[in-house]
């Protein structure tokens, strides 16, 4: 059976060159980077090379790159590390409503710890309005965290404009760059961020490696205390193979980015155009200001999970933006924040494309998708009368 992997925001396969670069550090070069003998020095040198490679990807200096175990750790580190480092200056933190759970739940933890958090609303396309950011700032504000792009709706946020506001008021700005770094050009200086999170497996690197960029001169309290790894900012013996893999993946991403973006953009546009031919299916997120490999929708009258399962039977692997929430029969907070009704938000589906996809995959999917939707709607009690304009027609008009 044909397999179309359309879930690249969940994770990516390793690039073959990445695996090749990592292998020696699983085998012969297994030393602890802190050891003083050759084996340790080899591991240490490999980490520093990776630091340079990741720094180059986002146009940063190597000492600003702090390796973590994941993007989620980087996000937690940013929020908690800055909040606790700056708690004597203020207790107010601002995050948007379209953040990943590793930001939203870290923010909730801060609230329990005595901080005050403002959750910024977004417009129907998921865009954070810089003016709203400005109005949310008060004299206690110490940190603003806005995602560079949401992996659920693909919208790219106006980080540069928000950075201008934050800088003018002396407030630290963190951006969650997990969905963007390695996928679209990111320059920390140009964006004006103080902190930026990344995850290797989002750009054909391994799982288990992330980075928090921390601007030079910015104090941050460690999330994990212990040894002197990462300059004392993140303790724990380094995951050397994963870090090496992240470095290699960053180097390749920087080299291949224009070709990758163009490849994915063509597939994405064909996919969006084809999917929207099915009635009562709506694109979520911004139409233009979105990740080149990302297409997300809500499908009226059916549930995302059911679509996922039926598509997976056909070899089409995708995600529902409400994946975590749906298990608890709860609508995605990100989709609700766009003003999408709760029932419709249940029909969320996200397709994220990669270099292993082809136009043949898209064409195959576009043949199968309308059939899956029809089959599910035929079974759905919510779709009763749909299409006839009769009772029970609950078409969404806000998209």
């Amino acid at each position: 059976m044909r397999r179309c992997y359309f879930d690249h925001v969940a994770t990516n396969p390793l690039h073959p060159e990445v695996l090749e670069a990592m292998m020696p550090y699983f085998k012969d070069n297994f030393g602890n980077p802190l050891s003083v003998y050759d084996l340790g020095m080899m591991a240490r040198d490999a980490i520093e090379k990776a630091r340079q490679q990741v720094a180059d990807l986002v146009h940063a200096k190597p000492p600003t790159v702090v390796f973590t175990s994941s993007g989620a750790e980087a996000n937690n580190f940013a929020l908690r590390g800055i909040a606790f480092a700056m708690q004597n200056k203020g207790n107010h933190v601002i995050v948007s409503k379209v953040e990943h759970h590793s930001i939203l739940n870290a923010a909730r933890f801060l609230e329990k710890s005595g901080f005050v958090v403002t959750y910024l609303p977004v417009d129907k396309n998921g865009i954070v309005d810089p003016d709203t950011v400005k109005k949310s700032i008060n004299k206690e504000t110490i940190l603003i965290s806005v995602t560079h792009a949401s992996s659920e709706i693909g919208t790219i946020e106006p980080i540069r404009e928000i950075a201008g506001i934050a800088k003018a008021q002396g407030i630290v700005l963190h951006a969650d760059g997990v969905a963007t770094c390695g996928n679209i050009p990111v320059d920390v200086k140009e964006l004006g961020v103080d902190l930026l999170s990344m995850a290797a497996h989002q750009f054909y690197g391994p799982k288990g490696a992330g980075v928090l960029y921390v601007r030079e001169g910015l104090r941050i309290a460690p999330l994990i205390y212990g040894g002197i790894q990462e300059g004392g900012r993140r303790a724990g013996t380094e995951n050397v193979p994963a870090i090496v893999g992240m470095g290699k993946a960053a180097e390749i991403a920087a080299r291949e980015m224009p070709a990758r973006m163009e490849h994915c953009r063509q597939l994405r546009d064909a996919l969006i155009g084809g999917v929207l031919k099915t009635p009562n299916v709506y694109l979520t997120g911004h139409h233009e200001l979105r990740l080149p490999h990302h297409a997300s929708f809500v499908v009226e009258f059916i549930e995302g999970e059911a679509m996922l399962l039926m598509l997976s039977v056909k070899g089409i692997l995708s995600a529902s933006g409400s994946a975590c929430s749906s298990r608890a029969l709860k609508s995605s907070p990100v989709l609700l924040s766009l003003g999408i009704p709760s029932a419709l938000a249940q029909g969320s589906i996200v397709f994220s494309l990669g270099m292993d996809n082809s136009m043949d995959d898209i064409n195959y999917f576009l043949e199968e998708f309308p059939q899956v939707v029809k089959k599910l709607r035929d079974m759905s009690p919510f779709a009763k009368g749909w299409g006839s304009g009769g009772e029970g027609d609950q078409c969404y008009t806000g998209g």
């Binding site: 480092a85 941050i220 002197i228």
Partner: protein, 88 residues
Amino acid sequence: MKFVHGVKADITADIVYMMCPMHLLKLEEMIKGLDQGQVLEILTDYDGALEDIPQWCDRTGNEFMGLDEDEDYYRFYIKKNSNKTGND
């Protein structure tokens, strides 16, 4: 403990929130880059530094000029005093 105020440093290392032994590693690293007579300022909130940094200076022949207490951290001042840093 010797306290000082208004010391002008040639270079500053900010290691606030960094724990042991970062204060000694950073001290070693920074002092290497200084010329004799130049002053290093270390900003740290690590209490163990109160004992460790003067001892390190004794051991390496550098001069512990004293410390200044800021609201949230200490400012340690070390003058590179000789070639006997132990690491040169």
